[in-house]
Symmetry: C2
Subunit: 533 residues, 2 copies
Amino acid sequence: MAAAEATAALWEAAVVAASSTGGDSTTVFSICVFTAVLCLCLVAGHLLEENKWVNESITALIIGCIVGAFIFLLSKGKNSRILRFDEQLFFIYVLPPIIFNAGFQVKKKQFFHNFLTIMSFGVFGVFISVAIVSAGCYWLFPKVGFGKLDAVDYLALGVIFSSTDTVCTLQVISQDETPRLYSLVFGEGVVNDATSVVLFNAIKNIDITRLKGGVVLKVIADFLYLFATSTILGATIGLSTAYVLRALYFGRHSTDREVALMALMAYLSYMLAELLSLSGILTVFFCGIVMSHYAWHNVTESSRITTRHIFATLSFIAETFIFLYVGMDALDIDKWKTAKSGFKTSAGIFGILISLILLGRAAFVFPLSILSNSMSGNSEKAPITFKHQVVIWWAGLMRGAVSIALAYNQFTFSGVTLDPVHATIITSTIVVVFFTTLVFGFLTRPLISAMLPHHRHREEATGGRSTGSNSPKDDFILPFLSDEDASGSGSGFMQAKRSISMMLERPVHTVHVYWRKFDDRFMRPIFGGPRSH
Amino acid sequence: MAAAEATAALWEAAVVAASSTGGDSTTVFSICVFTAVLCLCLVAGHLLEENKWVNESITALIIGCIVGAFIFLLSKGKNSRILRFDEQLFFIYVLPPIIFNAGFQVKKKQFFHNFLTIMSFGVFGVFISVAIVSAGCYWLFPKVGFGKLDAVDYLALGVIFSSTDTVCTLQVISQDETPRLYSLVFGEGVVNDATSVVLFNAIKNIDITRLKGGVVLKVIADFLYLFATSTILGATIGLSTAYVLRALYFGRHSTDREVALMALMAYLSYMLAELLSLSGILTVFFCGIVMSHYAWHNVTESSRITTRHIFATLSFIAETFIFLYVGMDALDIDKWKTAKSGFKTSAGIFGILISLILLGRAAFVFPLSILSNSMSGNSEKAPITFKHQVVIWWAGLMRGAVSIALAYNQFTFSGVTLDPVHATIITSTIVVVFFTTLVFGFLTRPLISAMLPHHRHREEATGGRSTGSNSPKDDFILPFLSDEDASGSGSGFMQAKRSISMMLERPVHTVHVYWRKFDDRFMRPIFGGPRSH
């Protein structure tokens, strides 16, 4: 209630200030309220951390809602938001730190060990999910009296409701307790987001009147091209940063300059990718991975601590900002007025969308997990058990900021729509995001406890088995072994034979061993990195 | 030259992208170029660091100029800048981190020991300087054929050319080598900036037709009121942050949350001050001081390292951004076309302004230094020698971003002016900023070497003498002594007598001792801080 009174006082102050000095104060006032509410979220999130039902996203959503309601009341029903949703703001300023931080903090070994599974989930999974959601909407929407959409709009709906909310998921699954699960769900989420954005742009440009069978292939080819070029761009920028930091040895003079250079180069990678019409998300993600592998080791100790926390903090603020915004935006009365659809239609649309999300995700998680299990066969990897599959399915059901941003991008013109059909889709998206975040998010932690009751201990055991090199000790043994192999000249044939048999038995492991060799011999001397021997 | 080619390639890419997808790409392109050029500045600044003639500001200015020239050539003479100067951008996003960092990093003991001198320089100095520059412009401008200004414009000119550029100065004087000089020049710069902004706002609102003798008094009263309220607001927010961090003990859970809370609260202090029409600069400066004194000690070790560097890095990027921008803006052809004034008039205006800046600063630095010396008498403080006075005078001659921002604010409408007189003032301001930064900035390091040839050793000696408690050891002895005094009950009379004689002999020192007592007994138990015993 103290917050409410403060808001009321501020609102009065802003009204007075705005009327006396013109429009500038409105911006100042908005920033003030947002900053104050962000602080409130931080404190509330901290106080609720011990609670196993509530996470930070839910807190921010609810606080955003409450603040929106107060603004709504104080402005006498005129509006509930103080900033208009701007996809540019979201895609240019808020998303890059989140994704870069994800790449920077991800446990690279886990990520690359599960690379194939992650990619199949993140790419083919999205294709399957989009197909199911689009077809389902096309088939079911007219049955609840809502069917005036273009074919492109149905495809857009499919994409909008196929992007997992990585942010919310990460707050529920712990990287230390369940490393493999974390790596699968998180990795899928990142690739998933990227696939959605790429697919969305592809769909927007499709000429629906000349739709042929080749279009699907062309979308897939486009995706692969974008994936490759974006990855290369990200890796190149990451490597240049590492090289500059190493060659010029910045730390001699200034920690601040090192930190600034890393942050700016990371941001540059995202913006360059956007400028060249590539996927900024993928670029900045791989830039983060490369930077944490090379550049991070070339800087001073205090730069290391600072960068680790600076990126995490920025990402944290950006995430909270998004949920807060969605919470405030939910009460925007204009959209609800424009939507005009009756309660029955709205409830029908909502039910259809939720069912399709549940179905669309189930349709790829279970088959692809079984495929992944059979592919790895009796190799070193533990299979993804049915219980794990259920958790993966459930943890990816939440829809978040990317869905909202895509929906606004497709169905509004700079945050405003006058078309009742489009307004209905926007309001439905908000309701779905709210429902999935609150209800599914609320139930995830208890579900994980129920499905994986001793996951803390079990994962430690299976984790060690599944990756083959989970302990730091193994980290040092692997390259050491590979170096021994390499230095034993004359045993070329034996080495080749061993390599081939290894390759057949444990493909991912072998690739990893070769990568480590290459890394130690060629990459690290140029770009820097941890000295492993 | 590689940079030039890259810029050319990017420009082509941007033109293609902008024409195919609309206006959004222009923003992306601008951000890209700015980020890339910022990176370039960082590397160039690093490479030139050993050079005693060039500092980071000069590097950024020159690089900005070169990039501006290339954009000018590539756009075939149409424009030289890719972002329009926006005072809002400057005052809302760029300035707060610089000033907060200044407060956060300043050596508090030195600052408060020289408090009276700093305040007299920063407040009365500016008043004297404004009077001289305004009167000089009024008297001399018609003599070079330029005299169509209102009385308010002359006063505005006085304020614009009286604000020292703290940023550039700090890069030249070292806090470790010459602590007292640094503290005087830096402290003056901050107060100076604040006084200028406050004075400027006061002048804009003056009804010049009803100008009476009381106006000057009213401006001074306004200033004192603003100073007091802004300081209180900043200190209150800083203390609340410290209290929250201490009471909830954030570090138990998350470093990122601590860092985010500190950064957001600092920003909130600035924005709240702006919202309440106080001086954001002063508020955020004192918030920084309070946070570094209390809040910083309540967080985990890694939060301490992170916050120290995160604020320094943000400030560093913001500073480089400003100089880069000014460099790029210098070649904006529209303004030069609009200005229309002949070479003779331009040269005359430039000469007058530079002379007035030199004179206006000399008119308060030397008298006020002598006053400060005679005030402290034969107390513990070393007098400000004539050589120090010359360095103080010289180091404050540079004009920078605040001057530019105030000039744009007064003489343009969102960065554009069609009035030739106003355009002339804008171009003159840019030329003066350029000249002072390049020429005066260029000569400052050699001047300091010449005036204080062994300043490294001398300052250590006088520094120790002047503050009385410069070494960390003294830090611990002082409160220990004062506590002994307090615990020795019954010796009240002796204590009072000693206090009074101390007060008469060494007023600042005594205030400091009492402050330490108060701090240890009441403040630190509530708000946290270093444990001194």
